[in-house]
């Protein structure tokens, strides 16, 4: 709970700092605040978890590990933001505030124990993002992204809320424990309304995490938003939404899995193919990452599809790997775009010669996204595959293998452009201290988790 309060107060504090033109203090204060929040979460790790505030939130190890991941990724993203935001506009403080508010919502989504909190968390997280997506007021693409995100987001929240209402109608409670009890008490005569509620919830959550066939907003929104906001959306927001998704299905709806498994299975298969095949055809690195994030969402659904004791650690590992690699990829894109002015694959040409270390770090990130051993991405993929294997979805695994091979193709394209193609540009990119720190931390963590995954699996 300390983390949520800290982050909310921090957001307001930052706004005041902006008001008093203390621009240089923004980043250090935000980082300090985030570290404090991390400290709170670390402290609660050792405390027995009980539902707080009449069962509104529950900070168990599941919620804590996901919120720690979200906060840590936000720290990395904020480290990248200093120069980036200054280049876009003068109102820098608002960026920090909105990101912090959005993060607060994300933590609520990770830790909810009551549907009211799920809804509030999702809204806090999303409303801040609607603004962030459109924060470049004079840019058409940014406005388009914001409007699309808002319309789709509002629509999906509506469906979600409808689903929650139906569950409430049949059980008389918003509390997860009470709803679970309802399922256990009435194994045979669960009302049809309840099933309708599950379907609507599923659709609403699928919208939020951006899996096919509810993915149509993702490429445009990811493409149109400022790169750093895209980074935040595709890592922190997505991971938190998955945590919320998994929590609902693993704690409450497990007994009914015969009902929703076929639906989810269809969603997963469509997602894998649409995400991968579309990513294959992109010429823009940013759009490729957007589509590949759809296919990653598909892999992460594996854990929900076959819920077991390893699901949570599987999703946690996968999200960590995916988050770290995405941050590297987007940060490199910021640098490259600043120099070349385009986010096409071609702008990475010759990077291996100009900036060998940057190219190496991006290669590590791409190998991790592709799931090659010795990177964290492989462990994530391994966990997901073994989760599904538990339930003998062998056909799904073979489809997943085909898709993973397709994935290697487009991730390697970046590597091909970096190392095997020449460009006219001779100047190497200047990488500022903050970027260097982020690159080093993310790359080293990716490799350490790939070589010694117990650090995260044992949680």
């Amino acid at each position: 709970m300390g983390a949520i309060i800290t982050l909310s107060l921090l957001g307001i504090f930052i706004l005041y700092l902006g008001l008093y033109k203390a621009k240089n203090a923004l980043l250090p204060v935000s980082i300090l605040g985030l570290l404090l929040a991390l400290g709170f979460q670390g402290y609660y790790w050792t405390v027995e978890a009980v539902p707080l505030y009449k069962g509104m939130v529950l900070f168990d190890h599941f919620a804590l590990s996901f919120s720690i991941l979200c906060i840590a990724l936000t720290v990395l993203i904020l480290l990248l933001s200093k120069e980036y935001f200054k280049a876009i506009s003068d109102h820098v403080a608002e960026y920090y505030t909105l990101i912090l508010f959005s993060l607060t919502g994300a933590i609520l989504v990770c830790s909810y124990h009551n549907f009211a909190m799920l809804f509030i968390g999702l809204e806090i997280m999303s409303v801040a993002l609607y603004i962030l997506a459109g924060i470049r007021r004079n840019d058409k693409a940014s406005n388009e992204a914001s409007l699309k995100y808002f319309l789709m987001g509002a629509f999906s929240t509506g469906l979600l809320l409808f689903g929650i209402t139906l569950l409430y109608g049949s059980t008389g409670s918003f509390d997860l424990a009470a709803i679970k009890q309802y399922i256990i008490d009435n194994p045979s005569n669960i009302s049809p309304m309840f099933y309708g509620g599950i379907l609507l919830l599923l659709v609403g959550l699928c919208f939020k995490v951006g899996v096919a066939p509810f993915h149509f907003w993702t490429p445009d929104v990811y493409d149109g938003s400022p790169i750093l906001i895209t980074t935040f959306m595709s890592t922190v927001v997505k991971i938190a939404s998955f945590a919320g998704f998994l929590k609902l299905f693993s704690t409450v709806l497990v007994p009914l899995n015969e009902f929703w498994t076929p639906v989810l299975l269809t969603v997963v298969i469509i997602t894998l193919f649409i995400g991968n095949v579309s990513a294959l055809m992109q010429t823009s690195f940013k759009r490729m990452l957007a589509y590949s994030s759809i296919s990653h969402a598909g892999y992460m659904l594996f854990a929900i599809l076959s819920i077991g004791p390893n699901s949570a650690s599987g999703i946690l590992t996968y999200s960590t790997a995916y988050g770290l690699a995405s941050i590297i990829a987007f940060a490199a894109l910021i640098l490259v775009k600043r120099q070349i002015g385009s986010d096409q694959f071609e702008s990475f040409n010759g990077l291996g010669k100009r900036n060998p270390w940057l190219a190496l770090v991006v290669t590590v990130a791409m190998l991790s996204l592709a799931g090659i051993p010795l990177t964290a991405g492989f462990i994530g993929k391994f966990m997901m595959f073994s989760n599904v294997m538990n339930d003998y979805h062998t056909v799904l695994l073979v489809l997943a293998a085909i898709n993973a091979a397709v994935g290697v193709y487009y991730y390697l394209r970046v590597v091909v452009h970096m190392y095997f193609m020449n460009s006219k540009e001779e100047q190497s990119i200047q990488i500022s201290g903050n970027f260097q720190v982020v690159f080093v931390i993310a790359a080293i963590l990716t490799i350490i988790l790939g070589v010694y995954p117990d650090l995260i699996l044992a949680l």
Binding site: S386, V398, D454
Partner: protein
């Protein structure tokens, strides 16, 4: 000194050190480090007791929460592969001296060596898979960075093709892991599993396709000729000399003992694939004008015969396969080195543009002839022993052995035809005008060719040492299957 881990550690450290060496002194550092690796390998070869047991075994807890341990060890099947890897790498590094390469190049070779050694010594499926992939990434970069022609597209095909195979293997590995109760990945427990018929069937195919792509067996070979042809000669030597043995070794270590009943059902198909590859590779090799392509197709024929020998499930067949893996590694590195010399001296490897070089390059011609005799399998060369054992094994295969042995035996005739044609078109006949000024091999080139020639004859005359290493392990493997 019986710490096997050091053989993994040294290449990794070499790779890191070499990555920072910017000038051409890197080649000397790489050579010295690879010789140190041989020096570290020797104690294992000398103190190895040729029985069926697993020796120098070491095991550490790795991923405790998944019950995965890091287990390595040597037996009579993996030791020859280890000797092959660590023995060939210095030769391959030395062979690259003619191309001025920097640290990055040798760093990738050292990294690949670590992956290859891990594949051969690992005794748990997880580290086997990691080594399998870790060997693929550096060779991809070597071939795509320093290759020629349409290298980007060809190597992407190579990577995605083999990666798809390895994903199938990964699925099978995960399945086996869960069958052990989800707490154990070690080879010992996986090879002791009793699987249902259905499970054996698909695990067989998942593993087999992964290995068959890597070997490559007909009809999964389509990446191989292009990749070999367009790779730098060092890359070709690494691929054909060592890397394809990963697939053959995989058959012995991870396929035969794990799904013995499925082998009984489908082994025949695999054997036929190998035999078809022999005929197919030989016939195409005969038509090739490009020397590298010629050897690439002849390689398909050779490994086809080796795979057929493995699936004959006989003592001679499998022991012959292990011996022939080493022989093939030695001769194919020699042949590709000869091609590299010709290309550097004459500026082409097109057979029709070469000829009559024997008068200008007598030392090369003499050594080249011996290497070719080894590749064809003439008596007193290493190839003879290997092919003899393979054919004898296939001959006594359970069904249609005689037929397969007769068809497979054509490799001797075909091989003689295309190899001697290769020799004749380069070394004999009229010398072409633009090659009048070529000079003979010298210095390090003589050294490499000399070592290869000595090995060809030595193994041909005294094969017992090598055969003795694998004898007990192979017979135990065969008992396990039956």
């Amino acid at each position: 000194m019986d710490n096997l881990f050091i053989l993994l550690l040294l290449p990794v450290l070499s790779a890191i050190v070499l990555a920072f060496v910017k000038n051409t002194s890197a080649k000397w550092i790489a050579l010295i480090l690879s010789l140190v690796q041989i020096g570290l390998t020797l104690p294992f070869v000398c103190s190895f007791v040729p029985d069926a047991s697993i020796q120098f075994s070491q095991s550490w807890n790795w991923i405790e929460s998944l019950g995965i341990r890091f287990t390595i060890g040597l037996d009579g099947i993996s030791l020859p592969m280890l000797i092959l890897t660590n023995g060939l790498i210095p030769l391959i590094i030395l062979a690259s001296f003619g191309h001025e390469q920097k640290g990055g190049f040798y760093s990738l070779i050292a990294f690949m060596q670590a992956g290859l050694v891990l594949v051969f010594v690992s005794l748990d499926a997880f580290s086997f898979y990691i080594g399998w992939e870790a060997a693929l990434i550096p060779i991809y970069f070597i071939c795509a960075l320093w290759g020629e022609g349409d290298r980007i597209r060809i190597n992407l095909k190579f990577f995605v093709y083999t990666f798809f195979g390895s994903l199938l293997m990964l699925i099978a590995i995960i399945y086996l892991y869960q069958q052990t109760g989800g707490r154990d990945m070690s080879w010992a427990s996986i090879s002791n599993l009793t699987l249902t018929d259905g499970a054996q069937n698909w695990v067989f195919w998942a593993f087999f396709i992964a290995f068959a792509i890597k070997i490559p067996l007909f009809p999964l070979h389509s990446w191989q000729p292009d990749t070999y042809t367009h790779a730098p000669s060092t890359g070709t030597m690494l691929l054909s000399g060592i890397m394809l043995k990963m697939g053959l070794f995989g058959l012995l270590r991870w396929l035969l003992p794990v799904v013995p009943e499925a082998i009984g059902r489908y082994g025949q198909i695999a054997l036929i694939m190998g035999i078809v590859g022999v005929v197919y590779g030989s016939i195409i090799a005969f038509k090739m004008k490009d020397a590298k392509r010629l050897i690439a197709y002849s390689s398909i024929a050779h490994v086809g015969l080796i795979a057929a020998g493995i699936f004959s499930l006989t003592q001679e067949g499998i022991q012959g396969a292990i011996l022939q893996m080493i022989n093939h590694g030695i001769s194919v590195v020699g042949l590709f080195f000869v091609i590299d010399i010709l290309e550097r001296r004459c500026g082409t490897r097109d057979l029709s543009a070469l000829g009559g070089l024997a008068s200008k390059m007598p030392i090369l011609a003499a050594t080249f002839l011996i290497i070719i005799m080894g590749a064809i399998g003439l008596p007193l060369t290493n190839g003879f022993i290997g092919e003899f054992l393979l054919l004898k094994g296939i001959f006594s295969a359970p069904e249609h052995g005689i037929l397969f042995a007769v068809i497979g035996g054509t490799t001797l005739i075909f091989g003689a035809v295309y190899m001697l044609r290769f020799f004749q078109m380069t070394m004999l006949g009229e010398i072409k005008d633009n090659n009048v000024a070529v000079t003979d091999v010298r210095g390090y080139e003589v050294l490499i060719l000399g070592v290869i020639v000595i090995l060809v004859i030595l193994i041909g005359v005294l094969p017992n040492g090598l055969l003795h290493l694998s004898e007990a392990s192979v017979s135990q493997l065969l008992q396990q299957i039956k």
